[in-house]
C-alpha cells in the first residue's frame, strides 16, 4: 500500500468503515509509515467534528444539565 492509498483508507478507518480484511492491511501500512501515518489519521478525525457541526443543534431537556451537575457534585464529594 502506498501513502496515497493509505490516506484513502485512513478516511474510511476513522469512520469505522474498513472491512476486517482491509483493517489488517491498514494496520500494517500504519506501522510502515509511522509518525506520518499517525499525523494523517489525526487530521482525518477532523471529519467527525465536521459531521457533527453539519447538523442542526438539538435542544436538550432542561433537567439533563441539573442531573448531570448533581452527579458531578456527588462524585466530587465521594
Amino acid at each position: 500500500m502506498n501513502f496515497k492509498e493509505f490516506q484513502n483508507q485512513s478516511r474510511l478507518y476513522v469512520i469505522g468503515a474498513l472491512e476486517p480484511e482491509e483493517l489488517e492491511e491498514f494496520e500494517k501500512a500504519r506501522k510502515k509509515f509511522g509518525k506520518k501515518a499517525e499525523d494523517y489519521i489525526g487530521e482525518c478525525y477532523g471529519l467527525h467534528e465536521a459531521f457533527a457541526l453539519s447538523l442542526r443543534p438539538a435542544k436538550a431537556s432542561t433537567t439533563i444539565k441539573e442531573r448531570l451537575m448533581a452527579m458531578v457534585r456527588a462524585r466530587k464529594q465521594a
Partner: protein, 196 residues
C-alpha cells in the same frame, strides 16, 4: 472549526484543562457550549428524544470521568467529544436492540426526506455561523448516493457490506462512494481551514 466564542470566553482547551483539574464549572460551560451539537449527533443515530437526552447526560458524565485521557496532542476537544458521543450512541443503539426499529424509522424518514443533510439546510433554521454553513455546503454538495453511504457509515455505524446489503448496491460501488465522498469532504475542510 468551533462555534464562535464570546470575547474573553475560555477556549475549549482551557475548559478541558480545568475539567482535568475537576472544575465542575468548566464542565457546565462545556455543556452549555456543545450540548446542542452532541444531542443532534445522538439523535441522528438513535432517533429517540428521551433516549438521546439520557445518553447525552451519560456522555457528559463520561467526559468528566475520562477527561484525564484527553490529550491535545491527539486532537481538539470537540473532536474527542464527538468521537466519544458517536461511539456511545452507536453502542447504545445496538445494545438496546433497537436497530430494527430505528431502521424502520430511518426508512420512513428517508422516504419523506431523501436528503437528510439537505433537509437540515433550510431557511427555517436558526442562524448558523459561517463555518457551519460552509461545512454543510461541502457535505450537501456531494452526490446523494455518496451522502447516503457516508450517512449510513458514520451515523449508523454500518460496515461497507451492511451498506451494500441495505442499499442493494455492489460492495465495490459502496467503497468507491465512501472513498470519493470522504475525500471531497476532507479536501473541502482543508480549503475551509485555509479560508477561515
Amino acid at each position: 472549526m468551533v462555534p464562535q466564542l464570546q470575547p474573553g470566553a475560555p477556549s475549549d482547551l482551557e475548559l478541558m484543562n480545568a475539567i482535568q483539574a475537576e472544575d465542575a464549572d468548566a464542565l457546565s460551560q462545556l455543556y452549555d457550549r456543545y450540548n446542542g451539537i452532541l444531542k443532534a449527533l445522538i439523535l441522528r443515530v438513535i432517533h429517540n428524544e428521551a433516549e438521546a437526552d439520557d445518553l447525552l447526560q451519560e456522555i457528559f458524565m463520561e467526559i468528566w470521568n475520562q477527561a484525564k485521557n484527553f490529550s491535545s496532542q491527539k486532537g481538539k476537544p470537540l473532536g474527542w467529544m464527538v468521537t466519544l458521543a458517536r461511539r456511545r450512541a452507536i453502542d447504545g443503539l445496538r445494545k438496546k436492540q433497537a436497530y430494527a426499529r430505528a431502521e424502520e424509522r430511518l426508512q420512513n424518514e428517508t422516504e419523506q426526506q431523501p436528503d437528510a443533510w439537505a433537509h437540515n439546510a433550510t431557511e427555517e433554521e436558526i442562524v448558523l455561523s459561517d463555518t457551519r454553513d460552509l461545512i454543510r455546503k461541502v457535505i450537501t454538495g456531494l452526490p446523494p448516493a455518496q451522502q447516503q453511504a457516508i450517512d449510513l457509515a458514520f451515523f449508523k455505524g454500518m460496515s461497507q457490506r451492511e451498506i451494500a446489503a441495505k442499499t442493494n448496491t455492489p460492495l465495490g460501488t459502496v467503497k468507491t462512494r465512501l472513498e470519493l465522498g470522504l475525500k471531497k469532504i476532507y479536501d473541502g475542510l482543508k480549503e475551509l481551514r485555509g479560508e477561515l
